[in-house]
């Protein structure tokens, strides 16, 4: 671990020499662990469903749970989280139910977003989880808006926006960080540097020394953290959120982590990277490490772990069974939610579709 990269627990789950463990009660530690494990098990299960053709697509986060969940844990419930497609873990931690998540994967009649988007593109206004979209980086400028809206109306909310290493190459990353700098927007820019953007490695993404150093271009804080160390991620994010809340401006956090799996269910990473590289990073797995820490600290045991695994398995099973039973949303949902009210041309198109469906063709 380099001097400049924040870290608290090492790969064996031991507290690093000189590191201070943040004060987090046992229940919260277990809550963190549970969310991470849930994320992992959900991913495994859903990728299987995808291979079986029961859902069309899936985005996993294996290896990145520490970064995703540690950072979300540092935020208050009133703070908006602005995710990209890989942050289901953050949503779970916040209370987004497995039922809602699974219904969205199936795009069924109970899907809260009404079958409108691909799997893993959820949203929850209630939980202050912004809507996931696929375009890389396009969510980043929204963070300034979420944050400044709060600031201008005297609410002490912070917006945390997630994105990958690849996203830093887009113009949207730049305009967002630059604007945040100028207004000291209450924003945390959270870059999951998982080393890859599909098949493109970080060296082809940028020649800058680190991703964190890009903060210099914007006069905001920049910090690198071991992204596989959930406590360190929590710590730096909490500090960044605190600064933002106090009006001291934005921070760009680079969480150094690794995408252990394929980019998405559509990808096959064996075509472009070595198994050796993956193996090296699997040894740094954030969940294994955190489990060792919890056991080491006397908070957790093998027995408890087994029980938890059983619970999670059960929960996931139940959600999938229920979701799979449901049919698609009603046909008219295709035409709803375009505008607050359906204008004439959409009413006409809906009628046209209904007529076609009714017409006795064949």
């Amino acid at each position: 671990m380099s001097d400049t990269i924040a870290g608290i627990i090492d790969e064996k789950g031991k507290v690093r020499s000189g590191a201070v463990v943040p004060e987090i009660g046992r229940d919260d530690l277990i809550r963190l662990y549970r969310a991470m494990l849930l994320n992992r098990r959900v991913d495994e299960r859903m990728l299987t469903l995808q291979r079986q053709g029961r859902i069309s697509f899936y985005v996993g986060a294996a290896g990145e749970e520490g970064a995703i969940i540690g950072s979300a844990f540092a935020m208050q419930d009133k703070d908006w989280l602005i995710p990209c497609y890989r942050e289901a873990g953050a949503a779970f931690l916040r209370g987004y139910s497995l039922t809602d998540f699974t219904n969205q994967l199936f795009g069924n009649s109970e899907d809260k977003i009404r079958g409108k988007q691909m799997p893993c593109h959820w949203a929850s206004r209630e939980l202050r989880l912004a809507s996931v979209s696929s375009p890389v980086g396009s969510q980043i400028p929204h963070a300034n808006g979420f944050g400044l809206a709060a600031k201008f109306t005297g609410r002490k909310e912070v917006a945390l926006v997630y994105f990958g290493d690849g996203a830093t190459s887009e113009g949207d990353f730049h305009v967002a960080c630059n604007i945040a700098g100028v207004y000291k927007a209450p924003v945390v820019f959270f870059c999951r540097n998982n080393q890859w953007a599909i098949s493109v490695p970080v060296e082809v993404q940028t020649a800058s020394e680190t991703f964190a150093i890009k903060a210099k271009a914007y006069g905001i804080e920049g910090v690198q953290v071991d992204g596989n160390d959930v406590l360190a991620v929590f710590q730096v994010t909490a500090e960044a959120a605190e600064r933002a809340r106090k009006g001291e401006g934005a921070t760009l956090i680079e969480a150094i982590t690794y995408r252990q799996g394929a980019h998405t269910s559509s990808d096959d990473p064996r075509a472009y990277r070595s198994e050796d590289e993956v193996a090296v990073w699997k040894k740094k797995d954030p969940i294994d490490r955190f489990r060792l820490f919890l056991v080491d600290q006397g908070h957790w045991s093998a027995g408890q772990d087994k029980k938890l695994e059983g619970e999670l398995n059960e929960e996931i099973q139940t959600a999938v069974r229920a979701a799979e039973k449901l049919g698609p949303p009603d046909i008219k949902t295709v035409f709803e939610d375009v505008f607050e009210e359906m204008p004439w041309h959409l009413r006409e198109q809906l009628d046209e579709l209904n007529e076609t469906l009714d017409s006795e063709v064949e």
């Binding site: 949203a123 808006g145 809206a149 917006a159 939610d337 375009v338 041309h345």
Partner: protein
């Protein structure tokens, strides 16, 4: 009622809404201290302070992106894009983000903001200070498009746009900013979105236009009446998405003839949509083909801009061609 030009009417609308609703905020390049390069936001920073009226860095994607976030978290942003020609760096934010937000969240999250932007030619602005990008926006489901042609509508439509729950692109005819003057109601005053205005009545032919083309069309209509003996209905659409199909069909079914006028290039312009829809819905009423008088399918030229822009001669020629078909 006070007489104003369009700049003043826009300013008045912003002021009225900002007084009524303290979630309305205005920002963009040069809109703060300077009051905008066309001065539409003049005096607003003095009155409402620099948290509600402020300059931004030069980044349209950042401006629109910020509006998207703000509008989901309790504000009503009314950002300015300095010229419609410069909306393209923000097109991804509009097409992939703002326009789809309500849809993709199943109705949970919405983006009620208004982008004000001056559009169109006639000011010797060449390629980059003359474009009319409405067709790109109209083709993007989830965005409303509003284009006033006079001060009173500018105020009334802008107020309605700000109160609307969907993202609105409010395109201001810069050529008319100071040229169009007229009475404007004081205080709270709105014109409903989606309603066209029949600004001239005549039974021979229907001319459909909007924004900066309206005065040109009205001149042509008068001249055509006086010289060519063609008496036309002139329809000012005012809102392009969703547009007032009932008004369009009512007039065309009466006259049996239609000419559509806009500045943007012809191919895949909004005129194509109107002509296609009229030809589909009113085919049996048509006595002649729906004609389009538009900007040509070239970038907006500099020296020969008055040849490029639809003008009285071209409009009258189309009217005569339509009548004599």
């Amino acid at each position: 009622m006070p007489v104003m030009n369009i700049i003043q009417a826009v300013n008045d609308a912003l002021r009225t809404e900002m007084r009524r609703d303290d979630t309305v905020v205005v920002f963009g390049e040069d809109v703060g201290k300077f009051g905008g390069v066309f001065r539409a936001t003049q005096g607003l920073q003095e009155e409402f302070g620099s948290e509600r009226v402020f300059d931004t860095p030069l980044a349209e994607a950042g401006i629109v992106g910020m509006a998207i976030g703000m509008s989901q978290n309790g504000l009503r942003p009314v950002p300015e894009i300095q010229f419609a020609d410069f909306i393209y760096p923000a097109i991804d934010q509009l097409v992939n983000e703002a326009s789809k937000m309500r849809y993709r969240s199943g109705g949970q999250l919405t983006c009620p903001f208004v982008i004000r932007t001056p559009y169109g030619g006639g000011i010797r602005g060449g390629h980059y200070h003359s474009q009319s990008p409405e067709a790109y926006l109209i083709h993007t489901p989830g965005i409303k498009v509003v284009v006033p042609s006079n001060p009173s509508d500018a105020k009334g439509l802008l107020i309605s746009s700000i109160r609307d729950e969907d993202p609105v692109i409010f395109m201001e005819p810069k050529r008319l900013y100071r040229a169009a003057r007229g009475e404007v109601a004081e205080g709270d005053y709105s014109v409903a979105l989606g309603e066209a205005a029949l600004v001239r009545e005549g039974g021979d032919i229907t001319i459909i236009a909007y924004g900066a083309m309206i005065p040109t069309v009205l001149d042509a209509a008068e001249k055509a009446a006086a010289v060519d003996g063609i008496d036309s209905d002139v329809l000012d659409l005012r809102t392009l998405m969703p547009y007032d199909i009932a008004a369009v069909l009512e007039s065309v079914e009466k006259t049996g003839r239609a000419v559509i006028v806009h500045e943007a290039p012809r191919t895949c312009g909004f005129g194509a949509e109107l002509a296609a829809t009229i030809s589909e819905k009113a085919l049996l009423s048509l006595n002649s083909p729906v004609l389009r008088v538009t900007g040509f399918d070239t970038p907006f030229p500099y020296t020969l801009e008055s040849e490029y822009l639809p003008n009285e001669r071209r409009i009258r020629k189309a009217m005569r061609d339509s009548m004599s078909f």
